[in-house]
Amino acid sequence: MKVKKVRIVNKLGLHARPAMQIVETAGKYESDIFIEKDGNRVEANSILDLLVLVAPPGTELTIIAEGPDEDQAVEAIVSLIESGFGEELVEELGDK
């Protein structure tokens, strides 16, 4: 099992399009992938569950994967979130 923490950096947070990108990315891997926020764990293949996690910018998420390609899967999701899904980033998160 592979686990890694990551922070939401884009302005809109884990909104519809970012959640869709996570679902699409997760679909490329064989491993079971989960995303956790404050102890709530959802499967990364469910856009609706991801949305109701409610993750505005600054939220810390834990990415968990289990399976043959778990390392690559976690890395892919983490870098997607870190890149801000190609959206506008929050300027200075540290101040908030």
């Binding site: 909104h15 519809a16 399009r17 699409e24 293949n45 856009i47 949305l51 109701v52 409610v54």
Partner: protein, 554 residues
Amino acid sequence: MILKGTPAIKGRAAGKILVLGKRKKRRKKRLTLPELRQEVEKYSEYLKKISVDVGAGSIYRVYEAILHDPQLWEKVESLISEGEKNALRAFVRVIEDYADELSGSEHEKFRNLGFELRIWLRDFENFVEGHHSEILENSTGRIVVGYELNIMDVFRIIKYGVSGVVLERGSLTSHPILMLKSRGIPTLIRVRDAVSKARRYRYAYLDAMEGFVEFSRRPLRIQVNEEKKTIHLLTNGGRVRMADGEEVTLQINVDIPEELEDFKGLGVGLFRTEYLYLMGVVSRDDQEYVYRKLSESVYPNVLTIRLFDLGGEKAPLGMDIPSHVRGIRYLLEYNRKLLEDQIEAINRASVRGNIRVLIPMVSTVEEVLEVRRLLKADIPLGIMIETPAAALIADRFKKFASFFSVGTNDLSQYVMAIDRKVSDYRFHPAIFRLVWYSFDKFRYQKERYSVCGDLAASHMGLLALLSLGIRVFSVPPAYIPDAVELIEKMDGETLNRVFRHIMVAYSEKDVEGILFHVLREKGIVEGDVSGRKVEMSTDLYESLKPSVEDAGNS
């Protein structure tokens, strides 16, 4: 190729054509699980086609992810195994649960996501019922051409920034058109064969000033002037003076909370909450949040919240109720819970002291007493004058209601005994006599009596209503600049002249004739938001001359 039509909302626009297909009659559907899956695939195909057409790939991918969400289907299946026989209803319930959860979030962006999910869900339901909207995110800047519009179309037109609308049918007073009017989106109605013609072209130039639309295969090189009207910032609560110094108060009609942005300084004479209902804002908390926010942004001016006016043609969610059961009748007889929740939300939201409540479709004193009982004692309660019954005994309501607002469209409909979707009788003398009769009992309390109906949002209508003595009007934001212009040019003597003519008029044409005549005299015929031009019927006017002169001398 040029087609003529009736301008419903003035303005000009040019852009690519988006044709809306024919609508089937709405039916309630029952689906088995395999049928539902099939419908989902069809809907997905349809979304794909449209989004690819307009280049909205990522929005399509979002819907695609929702439609094939494994958790969603797991929940749908478990509802079915628990005994739900209609798979469509299970699907709707699961998505509504998700939407509820999002709407309960403390983060505004996620709350909005809840609303969007509901709007999308309605679209899906419409599709399954053979009643779909083709207006998508990338319809921005397009000219929509269709038979007629439903409320969801309008919502999408506003949301996605469609630049103009051309319809084969449509009426100046239908709700979709009124909603578009508040946004000033150029609209031409009653354009024959518009849909079949538009299919053969790609671009359109819409002139809803002169009343025509031009279709072409190439972009039309006509410059569209972005005549963004400068809004008079009325810092004194919307008070405008006539040429002789008499004061008139202007307020605005609001459908969607965002509309308020540009109109700080004006009171809201009518906030139509039906659209909140359509967007799924029905829980006490959600409503309280919206009302509180609005009341803050309007403060220190008034926010007049009209209770849900559902039923009749505003029953788009498949409610099966008789057409006369509308407004307060619907709330009291069919949906008391909705009424109680709304009033409780208003009670809680009323902290600034600027909220007022308006009851739609009142015809009896008992209806007012019922609402009064639920509403906090310090919140002023008013009634809509929309039924001839309320108009005739308006003075009897004075004891129970503190203000009165005329809804001209419904009132004309019920006075003329004709469906507003079929025809507009906006200037029939009977309507003005009735309004005058009811207003006359308020001659010394003019501030208690206003008109929020569509008639006040056209030069001819506003002039006629001013002539009756009414001095408070609530109009769509887009009409405010024109209203100010007209009011500033009017004076008591001119208005008396108009009044005397209206009181002796034989027909609609006579009323239109005198109004048109006076507006031309003052140099302000242009600017009727409805764009309706009326040629005075000279024959009729001539034949009336003796009585008209009579009126002038009396």
